[in-house]
Symmetry: C2
Subunit: 124 residues, 2 copies
DNA sequence: ACTTGACTTGGAGTGCACTCCAACTATTAA
DNA sequence: TTAATAGTTGGAGTGCACTCCAAGTCAAGT
């Protein structure tokens, strides 16, 4: 599968795909005789995971570290587990932060809905 | 209240507080005769809200726009309402993204917990 | 009187995550 | 055969959100 197809499937730029590979967030993708990337199913798994993790806010360097450990083999199970748990905890905190902000926004929105009707913003 | 106290209460740098004011995310804080910021209760409300919104990921320019509308007065209730609703929707999506990633991480973590025990990563 | 320390400003610098660019190569279509 | 299209690389540039810095002011302590 070409980089173009992958970029269309996952709605991500080709530049970003090349960038993820360059920095080591995903393993090197095999090239055909003319040097063009040919993504395998496994490559797609890595791409998918990378996109998922990044869109939740996991830092690039953490994902690079994960792949580095992965490439080192079975000796790094514990380190990978630790890394994943760390990120899990951080995401829980981030979700909590979002929940707080949603509450605050909800409160403000309800006040503005009244304000739009009455022309006045109450108890400010 | 001085900038030092505010920065300690909210655990944010003085530089960041000055930055928020400079770009217009919070209203201008009054200075005393010697030109030093003296934060009022209202200022603290703005600071608190700014920090809350930022830590959930709302962009600076959106918060700047909100303050700009706020300063324009009652004519902008609807625009402010719309802005807040937009951000609310974005946060819901972001939370959904985090939930998906948490699921994925949870799955990986459970596999690694077994791997650490058995020395093998199953069905890979 | 002088030093110390906390503050002020405008503006430069940093780190992150892309995003774009120039120069090049290979394949296909006219 | 030539032009268009789609890919390649290394490296430069961008946008965001701070973060740091230099040069200065002011109030309090010795």
């Amino acid at each position: 599968m070409t980089i173009k197809q992958v970029s269309e499937i996952y709605n991500i730029s080709q530049d970003t795909l090349r960038y993820y590979e360059k920095v080591g967030m995903i393993p090197t993708v095999n090239r055909n005789k003319s040097g063009i990337r040919d993504y395998t199913e496994q490559d797609l798994d890595w791409v998918q995971t990378a996109i998922c993790m990044r869109s939740a806010g996991l830092p690039v360097d953490v994902l690079v570290e994960y792949l580095k450990l992965y490439k080192q083999g079975d000796e790094t199970f514990e380190q990978r587990l630790q890394l994943l748990k760390n990120q899990y905890d951080k995401l829980l905190k981030q979700r909590e932060q979002i929940n707080q902000t949603l509450q605050k926004l909800d409160y403000k929105i309800s006040r503005y809905e009244i304000a739009v009707k009455t022309g006045k913003l109450s108890w400010e």
